[in-house]
């Protein structure tokens, strides 16, 4: 139990995927302009990341390793992720048309979110068990959601603020992201 908690803490804060490992930066910059969109994206990513983390573990453990074709890992994981994203898209389209419209193009773009493939591959590298993979994927997505929502809230404030002409737009957003990353590096003392 303690071990699972540690994995969760480590992925959410200490080794945060966005701010410490610099994975999944495109949605981090792209969907963080409005809080509601960010929350929707966070939700969709959480679902996809957790599910694809578990699925890719199963595929790796029960198909790739017994058949001794682990060299096909990357392409297989991409396939798994694409399928999971497609399923999520259909599910969201059916259950919440508003969320579907808000997320728009970003929902299919989760496929190319490097954090998703990153988690699947890191699971293998860390020799995680099934439960550990699941927690690791969930933790990663919670960390991603936390950072994305915080960042979106900050960007909304900054938008209203008096930013110098030179820093307007993406520049100030990147500066903010850098400062946030700096703050999250401070968690490395927790290990």
């Amino acid at each position: 139990m303690k071990e699972y908690f540690l994995i969760l803490l480590s992925t959410v804060l200490v080794n945060n995927f966005v701010l410490v490992q610099f994975l999944g930066l495109c949605p981090f910059m792209g969907v963080s302009r409005k809080l509601e969109t960010a929350a929707g994206m966070a939700l969709a990513t959480t679902f996809v990341l957790t599910l694809s983390s578990a699925c890719s573990y199963l595929v790796n453990a029960y198909i790739l390793e017994p058949l001794d074709i682990v060299y096909l890992r990357t392409i297989t994981f991409i396939l798994v992720i694409a399928v999971v994203v497609q399923l999520t898209e259909m599910f969201v389209h059916k259950t919440s048309p508003i969320l579907y419209r808000v997320l728009g193009i970003f929902l299919p773009l989760i496929t190319t979110n490097c954090a998703v493939l990153g988690v699947a591959l890191l699971n293998i590298r860390h020799d995680h068990s099934f439960m550990q993979s699941l927690i690791y994927g969930f933790g990663a997505s919670v960390g991603f959601s936390l950072v994305l929502i915080l960042f979106a809230a900050m960007r909304e404030r900054i938008m209203a603020g008096d930013v110098p002409e030179t820093f307007k737009g993406p520049a100030i957003a990147l500066v903010t992201a850098g400062l946030m990353s700096l703050a999250f590096m401070g968690f490395s003392g927790l290990d």
Binding site: L67, L72, V80
Partner: protein, 214 residues
Amino acid sequence: MLTAIIALAILAVIFGLALGYAAIRFKVEGDPLVEKIDALLPQTQCGQCTYAGCRPYAEAIAKGEADINQCPPGGETTIIALADLLGRDPKPLNPEHGEEKSKRVAVIDEEICIGCTLCIQACPVDAILGAPKLMHTVIADECTGCDLCVPPCPVDCIDMVEVKPALDEWVWDFPGASLKYPATAANRIPKTGTSQPRDATAHDAATKKTGTGS
């Protein structure tokens, strides 16, 4: 090598089947009424009805949120067609949303244009051609006469010019068209400016496609 190919192929087939099943299970049925209403609207995407475009307005009508008399470009003919489709009473155009004008087309005064691209961004149907700091021009066939490009222009070089039906395009008014004549965008009365070929059904599809049938 062979195991790898077979394993991946089987995996792909399984995923494909799962997705296919999900596509049936989570199928979303669009509202067929929205399609029908949308087909009657003039597709100028002008936003005068206070909705972002013709389709959102059609959705609002289907939901009962919007009234049928908010479309100035469509004018009386559209209102009658909508009333016919929805089984409501036709009513005069709501003056809050503008008045019915004859068919117009935007013309850019190319001497004055500074090439700021603001009108290109405003155009809902991509009828303006141009690049930054180069002169712009309007593709008259694509222009729906929606006026949206006029306010953003910083040098006021866009004029809305009325299009008069040429001799070979002019047709008689449909008898009784303004009273109750149905329904398609094709049999619009020339009062709204568009010149309609007499054989309305044959040209129905073509006019709808270019969006100038209104």
